[in-house]
Symmetry: C2
Amino acid sequence: MKKIMNQPENIVNEMLEGLVTIHDDLVYRVPNTNVIARLAKTPNKVGLVSGGGSGHEPAHAGFVGDGMLSAAACGAVFTSPSPDQVLEAIKVADNGAGVLMIIKNYSGDIMNFDMAKELAELEDIKVDFIVVDDDIAVEDSTYTSGRRGVAGTVYVHKILGAAARSGLSLEEIKKIADDLVPNIKTLGLAIKAATVPEVGKPGFNLGDDEIEFGIGIHGEPGYRREKMKTSQEMAKELVDTLSRSISFEGNSFAILVNGMGATPLMEQYVFANDVLPLIEAKGATVAYKKLGDYMTAIDMAGISLTVLNITDPRYLEWLDESVTTIAWN
Amino acid sequence: MKKIMNQPENIVNEMLEGLVTIHDDLVYRVPNTNVIARLAKTPNKVGLVSGGGSGHEPAHAGFVGDGMLSAAACGAVFTSPSPDQVLEAIKVADNGAGVLMIIKNYSGDIMNFDMAKELAELEDIKVDFIVVDDDIAVEDSTYTSGRRGVAGTVYVHKILGAAARSGLSLEEIKKIADDLVPNIKTLGLAIKAATVPEVGKPGFNLGDDEIEFGIGIHGEPGYRREKMKTSQEMAKELVDTLSRSISFEGNSFAILVNGMGATPLMEQYVFANDVLPLIEAKGATVAYKKLGDYMTAIDMAGISLTVLNITDPRYLEWLDESVTTIAWN
C-alpha cells in the first residue's frame, strides 16, 4: 500500500482537519465530532443531514453548503458514523423546521441514523429520513439488505437541498424525496480495487485483464466479472442493464458519469462520449449532464453511470440552481 | 495497462467529444480542430489562449470560460499541439484586442506556440505570450530548457483571466504576467508513474516502497528518490525545498495543493493538513487556498504544492472573482 498519509488510524481525523482548513470560508468542524457543518445558517428552513463511512470524498462533506446539505457525519473509512455523531449533525442542522436525513442504504447506516433520529426526537427535534437505494447491480449485498445506495445520492442532496432552500416544509420535502428516489438508478464497474488504509491491501483482486460489473462503492461483489472491455462495450453493458430497470423511451433524464477515485478525467470523458448516444438511442432525452468524482471508493479505478428520470420538471430547476459548496459547481 | 478507453490513438479525440457533449452550455470544439473555445464571447477584450499536450485534465480545456481562458489547444497525450492548432485557438480567441498565450515551459510548446504567433501576426492579430516555469525541482529536463511549467499555470490562467475580463490592454496584461510568474513556485512528488495510452506501460518504475521528489508532469525525473515517507515528511521536504526558492517570512501566499490524477481527495486533504502549519511556521500568511486535481499527469499518483507570493493585492482579488468554467469553482 502506498498512500500519502501518516498513521492509517488517524487518516479521517487528519482529512477532516485538512478539509476545514482549506475550506474555512464554507464549512467548519463541530468541536469534538466528525461532523462537518455549513457556516451560513438558514433560520426556519429544513436542515438536511447526510453522511456515512469516509472514503467516498467529496461525498458527503463536499456537498455541505448553501443549497445542499446542512451537515455531514463522517465515519471511519467505509464504516458508518455512530449514532451520537449523527445526532450532533442533526442538532447542528436543525434551524427550527426539522431535519431530513439522506441515508445511503447500508445496514449499519440505517441502524445508526435511526438511533440518532430517536435520540434527536427525545430532544424535541423533528426528524425524518429518506433511504437512497439507486444501485441496480445486485439485490442484497455484503453490508446491505435490498439495493445499495451509491452515486445517485448526490442528485438527492442537490434536489432536496434546493427544495429545502426554497422554504418547503419537512413533510413536503419528505414527499418529494419519496417520489424522487425510485426515479434514480445507478450502475458501476471497477477495473482496480480500493485499498482501505487500515487494512493495507486491496479489498478484492482483479486480474490484469479483468473488469467487474456492478461493483459496490466499498468493493462489494458485482454481478459479473469478465475480460477487459473497451469503453464502448462498458457503456453498452451499463446502459442496456439500466434500461431493464428504468424506462428510457420518451423520457427526459439527468445523467451523472462518476469517477471512482483513481479514474482520470480523460477516461471519464471517453466513457461519456460512448454513453450519451446509447441513452439517446433508447429514445430518451438527456436534459442535464454531470461528470467527475462525486461518490468515490478511495482509490478504486472505475466508473458509474447514474440516470434520473425527470418525472417532475422541478428536478431540473433544482439541479440547475447554483450552490455554494466545496464540490458541486 | 487498464484504461476506460477504446483505441489508444483515438483517446484525445473521444475525450474532447465527451467534454463538449457534457459541457455544451459552456464550451464548444472549433470544427476540424482540437481547440476548445468558450461559447460566450467578450468583444474588445484581450483573449487568453493556453494548451499543450493532453493528459493534464482538467487543464487546460477545463479552464476555458468567462473570467479565465478564451480557448485551449489540445495536443496528443503529452505532446505539444501543432502550430496550426494553436493558430486556430488564437483566431477564435481574438476579439479585436489581441491575444496573450500562456505557455508552460516545454521546448515543443515554446516552438509551436511561437510559430503560431508568427502565423497569427501575418493575419494581423496582435499576439504576445508568457512562459510559465514554476517548477523548482530541476534546471533543464527531458523536454525542457530551464524550469518546467506545472500546476502554477492554473493560477496564471485565473489571475490573467480576471485581468482580461476587467478590460486591461494586451500590454497591461503582459506586464502583469511578467511580474506574476516569478512569484509562483511549485514542487511535486510521485508515488506511482503515469501510463501514456499509446505506450501501454508506465513511463518509469518506482518500487513498492519508493517515492520520487521533484517529478515532472510527464514523468520527467525528479531530484531524489527515497524510501516511502509519511505525509508529514513529504510536506516538510516540499516546504523546506520551496523555502530556498521563495521568501516565506513576512509574506502572504496563495497555495494550491494539486492531485496528479489518481490521488484520492482523502490523501490530498491529509497532505494539506500537514503543509499549512509548516508554511505558517516559516513566517508566512496563507491568504488563499485551493485543493484538488487541477494539473494532472494522466493516472499518476502524487501531489504538488504551489505557492504564490501575493506581491500585488490585485492577485488576491483576481483569484477570488467567480468564473464560469468546467473545473474552477
